[in-house]
C-alpha cells in the first residue's frame, strides 16, 4: 500500500516542466564525484579498485538494484538467489559503471544547471567537451538526496538516453532466457572481468 501511495504521489508530482530552483548541493556532489573518479582513473587506471570503490560508495545501489530486478524476475527468485543478488549487485553495478562513466570522466565536464524533479530527486545537467573545447554531448546526472546519507548517483543519461532502461531490459531478458541463476552468473562475470582488467593493469 505504501508503495502505491508513493507511486501515486510521485506520479502526481511529476511534470515535464522542471520548474524547481537550482540545487547547488547536488551540483557540488556531481562535480566532486567526477573529480574523484577522474583522479582515481588517472592515478590508478580506469576500472581500478579505487574507481569502483568510489562508484560503489556514491551509487544508489539499493534503489538501482531493486529497480533492475523488480517484477517477475524478483518474484521468481528464491530467497537464496535474492540474497546472492543483493550481495553481488553493488560490485556488479560499480564494475559496469566504471567503464561507462570512466569514458566520460576522462574528458572535461561542465555542470550547467540543476533541477529538482521532486524532493530528493535532482537532475544535474552538464555538457561534455572534447580536447578542442567543442561540446560533444549532454550528460544528465540523476541524483537522489536523503538527509541521512547525502546524495547518491541514480542514473547517468548521455544525450538523454537512460542506461537504466536498457539495463533493465537486458536483466529481464536474461532472467527470461537463462533464469535467475543465469543473471547471477552474468553479474559475477562482469565483476570478474573488472578484476581481470585490474590484474592486467598491474
Amino acid at each position: 500500500m505504501l508503495q502505491r501511495l508513493l507511486a501515486g504521489a510521485l506520479a502526481g508530482l511529476f511534470a515535464l516542466s522542471f520548474a524547481s530552483a537550482q540545487v547547488p548541493e547536488a551540483e557540488t556532489f556531481v562535480v566532486g564525484l567526477v573529480t574523484e573518479l577522474r583522479q582515481n582513473a588517472e592515478q590508478q587506471g580506469e576500472g581500478s579498485p579505487a574507481v569502483r570503490a568510489t562508484l560503489e560508495e556514491n551509487l544508489a545501489t539499493e534503489s538501482i538494484g531493486k529497480f533492475l530486478l523488480a517484477g517477475d524476475a524478483a518474484k521468481s527468485a528464491t530467497d537464496d538467489q535474492r540474497a546472492r543478488y543483493d550481495a553481488l549487485f553493488p560490485q556488479y553495478i560499480a564494475a559496469a559503471y566504471a567503464e561507462e562513466i570512466g569514458q566520460l570522466t576522462s574528458r572535461e565536464i561542465r555542470v550547467t544547471r540543476s533541477l529538482e524533479r521532486r524532493p530528493g530527486d535532482v537532475i544535474v545537467q552538464s555538457a561534455l567537451y572534447d580536447d578542442r573545447g567543442a561540446k560533444r554531448a549532454s550528460i544528465d546526472w540523476r541524483v537522489r538526496g536523503t538527509p541521512e546519507s547525502g546524495y547518491k548517483l541514480l542514473d547517468v543519461l548521455v544525450e538523454r538516453i537512460s542506461p537504466l532502461i536498457t539495463r533493465r531490459q537486458s536483466f529481464s531478458e536474461r532472467v527470461r532466457n537463462d533464469g535467475m541463476d543465469g543473471l547471477l552468473a552474468h553479474m559475477q562475470e562482469t565483476i570478474d572481468a573488472g578484476v581481470t582488467i585490474e590484474k592486467d593493469a598491474e
Binding site: 508503495q3 502505491r4 508513493l6 507511486a7 501515486g8 510521485l10 506520479a11 502526481g12 511529476f14 511534470a15 515535464l16 516542466s17 522542471f18 529497480f67 523488480a70 517484477g71 517477475d72 524533479r117 537532475i123 560533444r136 554531448a137 549532454s138 544528465d140 540523476r142 542514473d155 543519461l157 548521455v158 544525450e159 538523454r160 538516453i161 537512460s162 537504466l164 532502461i165 536498457t166 533493465r168 531490459q169 529481464s172
Partner: protein, 845 residues
Amino acid sequence: MNTTFLDGLLWRLIAFARKHRTVTVLFWLLLTALAVFQVMTRISINTDSSDMISPDAPFRVAASELKAAFPDLDDQVLVIVEADTPDEATAFADTLAQKLSTRSEVRSVLSPPSEPFFQQNGLLFLDVQELEDLLAKLSNAAPLIERLGPDPTAATLFDALAEAAEAEEGAISADQETLDALYTQLSEVLTSAERDLSWETLLAPGDPPDGRVLFTLDPVLDYTKLKPAKAIKAAILEEVAALRAQGELDADVFITGEPILRTEELEAVSSGIGWALGLSALLVTGLLSIAFRSPVLVASCLLAITLSVVLTAGVAVSLFGQLNLISVAFAVLMVGLGADFSIHLLIHFREEYCKGFTERAAAYRVAREIGTALSLTAPTTALAFFSFVPTEFIGMNQLGVIAGLGVLIAFLVAMTLIPALVRFFGMPDGPKPSPLPERSVLSVLVWPVGIVVLALGLWSITLLPKARFDADPMALRAESAPSVIAFNKIASDESATPYRLNLLATDQTELQTRVDTLSGRETVDSVRHLYSFVPEEQDLKLSLIDAASVGLGFALISGGDLGTELTPAIARLNAALADEDSPAAKRFAEVLATRNEADIESASPRMFKFWPRQRDVLTEQLRAGYVSEEDIPAVVRERYIAPGGTLRIEVMPTGGAVDVDSRRVFVNDVLSVAPDAAGGARTALSAGDVIGRAMVQASITAAVLVGLLVMFVVRSWRVLFLLLIPLFLAGSLTTATGTLFGLPYNFANVLVLPLIIGIGIDSGIHLAMRAQKTGDALAAVRGPTGKAVLFSALTTIASFGSLIVSEHRGTSSMGALLTIGMIWVLATMLFVLPPMAALLYKQSR
C-alpha cells in the same frame, strides 16, 4: 370412415358455392376487406431472432438477465477507421470521434485515442515487457526527438541522420533498426506524393502497428422508424465526408454493430424485391396459363391465392398481433399451398368438363374423383403444421398455428370461391382429353429414375446427422453490405471479435472468483471487466515510465535545432550514407541522389505531418499516474457496471471464434465453468441446437398425427406407406443437398421444411389415393393428378425461386433451398411413389 362421406361433403360445399355464387364471392371479399383493415392497423414484426426461442431456454434466461442489467449493450455501433499509416488512422478516428460526440444522434463515444484517461495512462495497460521494449526504443530515440523539437525541418532531420550514420558513439543513438525504418520511410515519402511519414510506426517496438483504429458509440435509436439506425449511420457518413473534404486527413471508415447490421439487412432484403416479385408474378401467371389455357381460370386461381394470403394474414394478426421473422413468411407457404388446392381443383374440373359433361356434372365428378383426397389434404397438412406448436422454437410454432389455420382457409377459399367464379364466368371450353397411350416417356423413365432417386434418398439419410441449423444472424446477411464487410474485418481480431461471452457478478469478490475460474483456459484469450481498467503492476510500470521520462522529458521540452541549412545537411547525409551498409540506407542514398532541394522541401510537410501529434501523445503518456477504480471514465464504467451495481465480465475467445467449430469449443469450455454465460457466441449455437431439436420433434409429431388421421379416414396401410416414404425421402434429400452444397437451414430458409411437408402431403395423398382408387399410380401421375402435382410444385418454385439472386444470403438461401426442395418433392412423388404403388398393388409394368 366411409370415404364417400367426404366426397359428399365436398360436393355439398361446392354445390352451395355455385348456387349462392354472389353471396359466396361477397362473403370472401368482405372478410378480405376486414383482414386488410386488421393487417393495416395492427401488424408489427419483431426482428429480434433471439426472441424466436422459448424464453425458458437456459441461454435465453442468461441473455435476458444480461439485457436487463445492460440494456444498451447490443445497440453499440462500432466504427473502424483504416488509413495508410497508424498516425493518420488515429488522427482521423480522434477527430471523427470528437465531432460525433457533439451530435444529437450520439449518446456517448468510447474512443481510446480521444479519451484523456487512455491518452495519459495508455502505457500502464501494456505488459511490463512491452513497456520495457517501448521505453527502451523511445529512450534511444530521445536525442532525435530533442533535435527535431516542436517545429522540425528536413534539414534538421537530415543533419541528425547524418550524425547517426557517422556513427560516433553518443551522437544520436536511435538503434539501427529504427534508422533503417526511417531510411525506408523517407525513401517512400520522397518517391510518392501520397505517402506520409509514420512516426508511430518508427517509435513502436516489434511489429509495426496497424493503420486501423476502432471506436464504439452508443447511438440514439429511433424505434418508431422502420430503420432505427438510419440516422446514426447518416450522421457518421456525413462527418466522415466533412472531414475528408477538409483535405488534411484521409481514411476509409467502416461502420458495423447490431443496429447498423439490421438496418442494412433490411435494405438488402428489400433491394430488388419489387423486381423479383414482378418476375414471380409473370412466371406464375405463365405457368398457370400453360396449366389451364384460360385467362379466366388463371385469374380465378390468382384471386384465390391472393385472398388466402390476405385472410391468413388477418387471422395471424388477430391471434398474435406481432409476428416474427419466421412466422411472417407464412405468405410463402400460403402462395404454395393456396395454389396447390386451386390447381388440383381446377385441373380436374377442366378435365371433366372437357370430357363433355356439364359444369355441374363436372363439378360433381371432381368431388367423387378427388373429393376424399382434397378433403383429407387440408386437415393433414394443417395437422403437420400444428405439430410445431409444442416445440421450444417460438418462431416456428407461431408459424405452425398461422400456416395450419391458413391451410384450412386456403382450402375453403379454393373449394367455394373458385366454383362460384366458374359459375359466374363459365368454364371455358377445351379439347377433349385423349386417352392415355399404353407407353409414354414417363412410363419408360419411371422405374430407372425412381430407383436412382430412391437410392439417392437412402444415401441422403446417412448425411442427416451432419445437417445443422445455422442460427448465426451473420450467415443470413449480404456479404457485400458495408456493415458485414466491416464485421468481417474485425471478426478474427481477438480484441474486437463480436463472438464473445458475458458473465454477471453481484460484487467484486464474486467477479474475482469468476475471473479466476476462467484464467488459464486455452479457449479464453482475455477477460475484461471494470477492474481490468485498473492496470496491474502499476508501481513497477510507473517507476519504469518515471526513469524513461527524465531523458524523454528534456527531449520533449527542447526547442530543437534551429538554423540548420538544408544544403549542407544533404551533403553531410550523402557523405554519411555512402559508408552505410544496410540495404535501406543504400536505397535511401539512391533516392536522395535523384532529388533536388525543391523536391525535398516539398516533401517536408509530409515528413512531419504527424510529428506534432506524436510529441503530444508522448508528452501525455509520460504523465501517467496511479489509476484507481474511481479514475475509470464514465463512458467505460457504464459498459461494465450497471446502475444497480451488477458487474459484467466480458470473455474474449482465443482466435476470435470465427468458425462454428472453434466457437462451439469456446462456448462449451466457458459454459463448463459458467453455465450462465450469455452473448452472441452462445446465442447462435444454442439457438441452432434448440431449433434442430424442435425440427426433429415436430417432424416426428407430424408424421405420427398425419399417419393416425390418414389411417382413421382411409384405413389403408398402403396409402400411409405411399404418403410417408416419398415425403420422408424428399425431406431427407433436400436436407442432404443443402448440407452437401453449404446450404444449412437458417432462420430464413427453415420454412422450406414445413413447405415440403405441406406440399408433399398434398401431393402424396392425391397420388396415393388415386393409386388406391384406380390401382394404377402411373396412370395417376400421367393424368390430371400428376399434372396438378407438377404445376403445384412449379408454381411454388416460380413464386420464390427467383429470390435465389438476392444479395441477402438468407433470402437467397430460401430461394435456393425451396427450389431444391420442390424438385425433390416432384422427383419422389412422380418417380418413387408410382413404382412403390405398383409393387404394393401388385401391378407389373
